[in-house]
């Protein structure tokens, strides 16, 4: 109940406040979204596996965002920002896919 409530409040806050993202932060927004999706699907899989841990969920989400943003930032400074961003997206994307596959096995036995 609380997670759904938090998600709803977050969406409503975003819609109402419409915060302006500063220019230097904009390249990291897609990365943050991918990291968030990864954390969500990881959490759902952990719930289904029966090993969910709230602390691990929040810490893994935050650290994923920070590390992904740092890699992209470093890549920007080195002139290979796009390539490293692709790397981050690929790694997190693969994780999302296999987590979703695992969730599917749990839910549908298929």
């Amino acid at each position: 109940m609380i997670p759904a409530l938090g998600l709803g409040i977050g969406v409503i806050l975003g819609l109402i406040l419409q915060p302006t993202v500063p220019g230097w932060l904009q390249p990291y927004l897609p990365i943050a979204v991918i990291a968030a999706l990864d954390a969500v699907f990881g959490a759902i899989r952990a719930i289904l596996d029966g090993i969910f841990d709230d602390k691990v969920f929040v810490v893994s989400f935050l650290s994923n965002v920070v590390v992904a943003a740092f890699i992209v930032f470093l890549g920007d400074k080195l002139g290979v920002g796009n390539q490293l961003a692709i790397g981050v997206v690929v790694v997190l994307g693969v994780r999302i896919f296999s987590n979703v596959a695992s969730i599917r096995r749990h839910l549908f036995d298929a």
């Binding site: 609380i2 938090g6 979204v33 596996d49 090993i51 929040v58």
Partner: protein, 280 residues
């Protein structure tokens, strides 16, 4: 391949498994409750991030778009200020001629001569019968300014009106006996130029937008016929038939042509003895 296998086989955060093992060792239940404030806060952040990202990409407010909008706004403000300054120049010119006339007194030879010369020089707005020629790009010739770089296509859009077209038309209007010519409201004087800059036509140092409207004043009986039968008329016919450019020539009973804004000479000064005596 170890990297790929480890990525594919162990996608779940190892932290979950480790925490579960630790709890099992401590003898607590493996799973912890899902509805905790910490999870709520995490979900809130996730919702916020996703919403903000969706809003950003949906509105297409990229940095490039903002820069483009900024530039357009700046160009527009400058153009309005130029227009305002042009209007004030015209009114000041009218003041100057009125003051000149009053200073010289009515019927004075000098003021009569100035009044005769002003319409020819283009420093005075004029009215009279004449021709209106409207030129516009052909349908589907890519008239959008975006991506119309001069180097983008070796064969520039053929259906477009070029500066050369306007030059030829204007020259032939003079030949046919026009006494005053204006393009899109820019009066042509001895200091005017019609030229090409990139994809834009520049007249009197101002870029023009389509359609291009050439207005010319001339003798109502002879002028339109002289233009239509001369090279200008046949050139317009070629433009229309070959390049599908929309051409519209109409005879007008009364046309208003504005005064030119920029006729002052900054470096060229008049030689004192106009009558032909030695200047020294």
């Amino acid at each position: 391949m170890t990297l790929l296998t480890s990525m594919l086989e162990r996608p779940l955060d190892p932290g979950y498994a480790a925490a579960a093992r630790r709890r099992e060792r401590d003898g607590v239940s493996k799973a912890r409750p899902i509805s905790t404030p910490l999870v709520g806060i995490g979900a809130l952040i996730i919702g916020l991030v996703v919403t903000v990202a969706a809003l950003r990409s949906g509105g297409a407010h990229t940095v490039a778009d903002q820069a483009r909008a900024d530039l357009i706004a700046r160009v527009e403000t400058r153009q309005t200020s130029v227009d305002q300054l042009g209007a004030s120049v015209r009114s000041l010119q009218a003041d100057v001629s009125a003051l000149e006339a009053s200073a010289n007194g009515p019927g004075n030879a000098l003021s009569t001569r100035a009044n005769d010369l002003a319409p020819v020089a283009g420093t005075m707005a004029v009215r009279g019968p004449g021709l209106t020629i409207t030129l516009d790009d052909a349908e589907g010739s890519g008239t959008d300014a975006v991506g119309a770089g001069p180097r983008e296509d070796t064969n520039p859009a053929e259906g477009r009106v070029q500066a050369r077209d306007l030059q030829l038309v204007v020259n032939d209007l003079w030949r046919a006996g026009a006494q005053a010519v204006a393009v899109n409201g820019h009066r042509l004087t001895s200091m005017s130029a019609i030229r090409f800059a990139g994809a834009a036509i520049i007249v009197n140092y101002r870029p023009l937008g389509r359609p291009y409207i050439v207005t010319a004043i001339g003798a109502p009986k002879t002028f339109p016929a002289a233009f239509a039968q001369g090279p200008g008329g046949s050139y317009l016919a070629t433009l229309r038939s070959t390049f599908n450019i929309s051409v519209d020539v109409t005879t007008q009973g009364s046309l208003d042509l504005p005064a030119s804004v920029s006729v002052s000479t900054r470096y060229a000064t008049a030689v004192n003895n106009v009558s032909g005596k030695d200047g020294s």
